[in-house]
Symmetry: D2
Subunit: 121 residues, 4 copies
C-alpha cells in the first residue's frame, strides 16, 4: 500500500479506512483511477479489518474476493471503508465500499465481499 | 417464494424484507434450513429490491450472485433483508443479509452481493 | 438432493456429475427450472467434488459461492458438472457448470466458482 | 497493462493470454507478485476476451469479478488465460486462470469468474 501512496486513516475493532490520493501513475487516460488500484485498496482494507480482530500470533491472507465496480473512480482521493461481517477462528468475512472524493462530494465506486483466512505466523 | 411459504413483509424504495418460517420440508436432518433455501430467499429479496426502483414496464432477473454462508440457519424463522447499493438503467447492484431467528434472538447466517438486470416486459 | 429428485451419476477423483429431471414442483410458470434449484444442484456438485478428495474423517461445507446465471433453464433435465480447481488441507476451490438438456441438445445455463471447507466429523 | 510490463501474447475468438514478467516493483518482500497485480492481469485478460467477440463499435468494462487466490505467485512470469463462457448482446461472462511460471513449471495461482459489459463507444 505504501508504494501506492495509501494511508491507513482509521483503525477500529473490525473497521478500517484507507485513503489513497489519486496520482498520475495510477490513473488512466481519462483521469480515472485504475480498477486494479481500487480493488487493491479495498482488498487491503478488508485484510486489515480482519487482522484487527485476529490474535497477535496470526497474519491474514485473502482467500477470495468479489467486487462490483459501480462507477468510474473520478476525483482526487479514494477512500475505502471495510468492516468485518463475521469473524471466525479460521475464516473472516468482510465487506467494503470504495468512494471517490471530489471536494466535499463522495461517490461510491465499488463494493466488495471478501473471505480472509488467519494463518499462524 | 409462495411455494416455500415465504412472505414479503416490508417494501420500501430499494429495501425489502422477506420472512420464511422454517418447515420440516426445508430443513435438513439437523434442523438447519437448507443453504439452497437461504440463497433463494436472499436472491428473491435482492431481486425485489431492484424491482422496487425499476420503471413499471420492466422486470428483473439475476445476472449473478455471490453469497457467504456464515452460520448454520438454526431457528424458527429466516428473515432476509436486501437493499439496492446502486441502481443503474440496465444493472442494479444489491446487498442482502439473512438472519435466523429463535425467539427474540437474531443471528446473521448469510450475506449476498448480487447483480440484477432490468429487462423490458 | 434426494428430495429434489437428483441423482449423482458420476463420481471421480475431484469430478462429479449430478442429474436432476425437471418436475412441475421445481419449475416456474414459464417451464423454467427455478434458479434456486439450479444453484442448489451446482452447490451440491461442488461439495461432492471437494468431498471426493477429502480424507475419510472429514465432511465439507460451502464457505461461499458465486454463480452466473447464463440462460433460462429450459428443457427436461439439468446436468451439473463440477471439478476441483485446487484442493487444500482446509479449503478446496471448485468450479461447476450446469446444462439444461432437451433431447440431445445441451445448453449451459449457469457457472459457479465456490470455496468449500473440510471439517472434522 | 503496458505500464506493468504486460504483453498480450495470444488473441483468439474469445480466448486471450497475457504474460507479465515479474519485476521488483510488483513483488512483495517475499518475492511474491502482489495479489493486486495478479487480479489486474486476470481482469484485463477477461476484458480482452470479451472484446474479441464484441462488435467493432463497442468497448467493454468490467461489471464485477470474483477471484480465488489459490497459491502465492512465486516465479519469473505470470501467465493469465481467459475465455468467454457466454457472450451476450449486453453482458459477457468470462473465466480466467493465472499461472506462475518458474522455468518449465507452471502453477495455478488464481482463478476468476467475471461479468463484462459492452458499451457503445
Amino acid at each position: 500500500m505504501s508504494t501506492l501512496g495509501a494511508e491507513l486513516t482509521v483503525v477500529g475493532q473490525g473497521r478500517i479506512e484507507i485513503r489513497l490520493p489519486f496520482s498520475a501513475q495510477l490513473t488512466q487516460q481519462h483521469g480515472y483511477l485504475h480498477a486494479g488500484a481500487v480493488i487493491s485498496v479495498l482488498d487491503s482494507a478488508c485484510g486489515y479489518a480482519a487482522l484487527s480482530l485476529a490474535p497477535d500470533n496470526k497474519e491474514v491472507l485473502t482467500v477470495e474476493l468479489k467486487v462490483n465496480l459501480l462507477s468510474p473512480a473520478v476525483g482526487n482521493l479514494l477512500v475505502a471503508r471495510a468492516q468485518v461481517k463475521r469473524a471466525g477462528k479460521t475464516l473472516t468475512v468482510c465487506t467494503g465500499d470504495a468512494f471517490a472524493i471530489t471536494g466535499s462530494e463522495e461517490k461510491v465506486v465499488a463494493t466488495m465481499l471478501a473471505t480472509i483466512m488467519a494463518i499462524s505466523i
